[in-house]
């Protein structure tokens, strides 16, 4: 029986409690046990086994809040890029992994997956923005975190999309007047544009897979 610690990065961007509670629920159903800790302490993040970067809100305010916490960006870079700890970014947490975001002007992101965060522009003018509600994902690659999940519908709320430089980083795509990347990843890094913590059984299963994932 393994015991792991998962750090949920608390940088004042949205409903972090939902992510924490959903992870705890997923862990209760997993063979992997351990603790889920809401934290912004750089040392605790570096020491943890896995990291969740959650988030709701706008690119500009979220990246500013993340950078304003002393040592947090450096700790994340070290944990993810040097120590290669598995990380899951959710919604804005995924978008922050990009090179640049264009919401509220151009802003530098964490640059873990090269690409830009740009507005959703569905061809059909009847389609509303934000893209809000349940939509299905189409797998572009096999990824262990997406294994054995019955439904392909997840809950989305966003007006911007992640456009990666290397299309090989796209794990799934979703159609909303255009195809956009609904999950991306490389090596130990994974991110979903949708909210697993709000996607009922499918989302809880995905989080359980993340808990059990060893890239």
């Amino acid at each position: 029986m393994k015991n792991i610690s998962i750090a949920v990065v608390n940088y004042d961007c949205g409903n972090i409690h939902s992510a924490t509670k959903a992870l705890e629920f997923a862990m209760s159903d997993s063979t992997v046990k351990g603790s889920v800790n809401l934290t912004k302490d750089p040392e605790e993040i570096i020491k943890s086994d896995k990291i969740i970067l959650p988030g709701v809100g706008a690119f500009e305010s979220c990246i500013k809040k993340l950078i304003s916490i002393d040592g947090l960006k450096e700790a994340l870079d070290e944990a993810v890029l040097v120590k290669a700890k598995p990380i899951l970014g959710i919604c804005i947490g995924l978008q922050l992994m990009a090179t640049s975001g264009f919401e509220g002007g151009k802003h530098s992101g964490l640059n873990w997956i090269e690409g830009d965060v740009i507005p959703l522009e569905p061809n059909d003018k009847k389609l509303k923005v934000p893209h809000m509600g349940w939509n299905n994902i189409d797998a572009k690659k096999n990824h262990p975190v997406f294994n054995n999940i019955k439904s392909s519908d997840y809950y989305f709320v966003h007006s911007y999309k992640f456009s990666p430089l290397d299309k090989e980083t796209i794990i799934s795509s979703t159609n909303y007047g255009e195809d956009f990347a609904s999950s991306l990843g490389k090596n130990n890094i994974l991110g979903t544009q949708f909210h697993p913590e709000k996607s009922q059984a499918a989302g809880v299963n995905l989080l359980k897979n993340f808990i059990e994932w060893s890239p």
């Binding site: 509670k21 923005v129 934000p130 509600g133 519908d153 007006s159 996607s199 009922q200």
Partner: protein
């Protein structure tokens, strides 16, 4: 493809569900958390709590209900009722609400929508509009639970709050609410055609066909109902199957 959302709405007063709930397997029909868990399991796409608690002192009870619901139901939760300020919104979001619906305060001070969406993001700001037909193709907004006339045109106001940063509109027909004769599809159509954000249909559902009409005729992105679901007259699953048969994309 994006699915049309089915949203059950619970009226909550002093932490208890007020409109009767009639599920056979429910132990405490007045407990919003128990009711939320049933809807979570039955495949509702979102949940809505409308707090009708009159006394300000009892507000913490609602926050506790929201917190416990969010700890047990991993689905989107909208909470409305008595939201007057940025700090009201902050408290609800930090208690576990995903979206906050603003009604009277949005009419009194539309700038609140701009302020709130700048701070928390458009995705969590829902503007609830209660409208009544006053003359041909002219719907007027009423506030304070439908008691106060405002002279404001509902379509114009919907456009205004959209430009101020609202992420969604919850549109209730006061003429239809409680009648079980279907949504006001003309009102829905007038608003949904004029705004770029999703519109949730509300008020008047009596049968599954009404939900289908709200989407097909009214152009709603989501359909909200209370009593038909609460009284167990129609299950969420049967509703979705019927909507799917009618050619509407739903999450089955």
């Amino acid at each position: 493809m994006l699915k049309t959302r089915i949203i059950p709405c619970l009226d909550v007063k002093d932490g208890r569900v007020v409109k009767g709930i009639n599920f056979v397997d429910l132990i405490d029909a007045g407990d919003p958390i128990e009711v939320a868990k049933i809807y979570d399991r039955s495949g509702a796409d979102e949940l809505c709590f409308l707090d009708i608690t009159a006394s300000h002192e009892k507000r913490p009870i609602l926050l506790d209900v929201v917190r416990k619901t969010a700890e047990q139901c991993f689905m989107p939760l909208t909470v409305g009722g008595g939201v007057r300020s940025v700090s009201d919104i902050q408290v609800l979001l930090s208690s576990g609400a995903d979206k906050v619906s603003i009604n009277t305060a949005a009419v009194d001070d539309p700038n609140l929508i701009h302020e709130a969406s700048s701070i928390f993001g458009s995705q969590c700001i829902v503007v609830a509009i209660d409208a009544k037909l006053v003359s041909e193709n002219n719907w007027e907004i009423f506030t304070h639970g439908g008691r106060t006339s405002t002279g404001i045109n509902a379509v114009e106001f919907a456009k205004k709050v959209t430009s101020l940063g609202a992420g969604e509109i919850l549109l209730t027909s006061m003429d239809k609410d409680g009648t079980k004769s279907g949504y006001d599809n003309e009102l829905l159509k007038a608003v949904s055609e004029e705004v770029s954000i999703p519109v949730i249909a509300s008020g008047g559902v009596g049968k599954i066909g009404d939900l289908i009409d709200g989407v097909r005729i009214g152009g709603a992105s989501a359909v909200l109902a209370a009593s038909i679901f609460h009284f167990g007259e129609i299950s969420i699953q049967d509703t979705k199957l019927a909507m799917s048969k009618a050619g509407i994309s739903v999450r089955l």
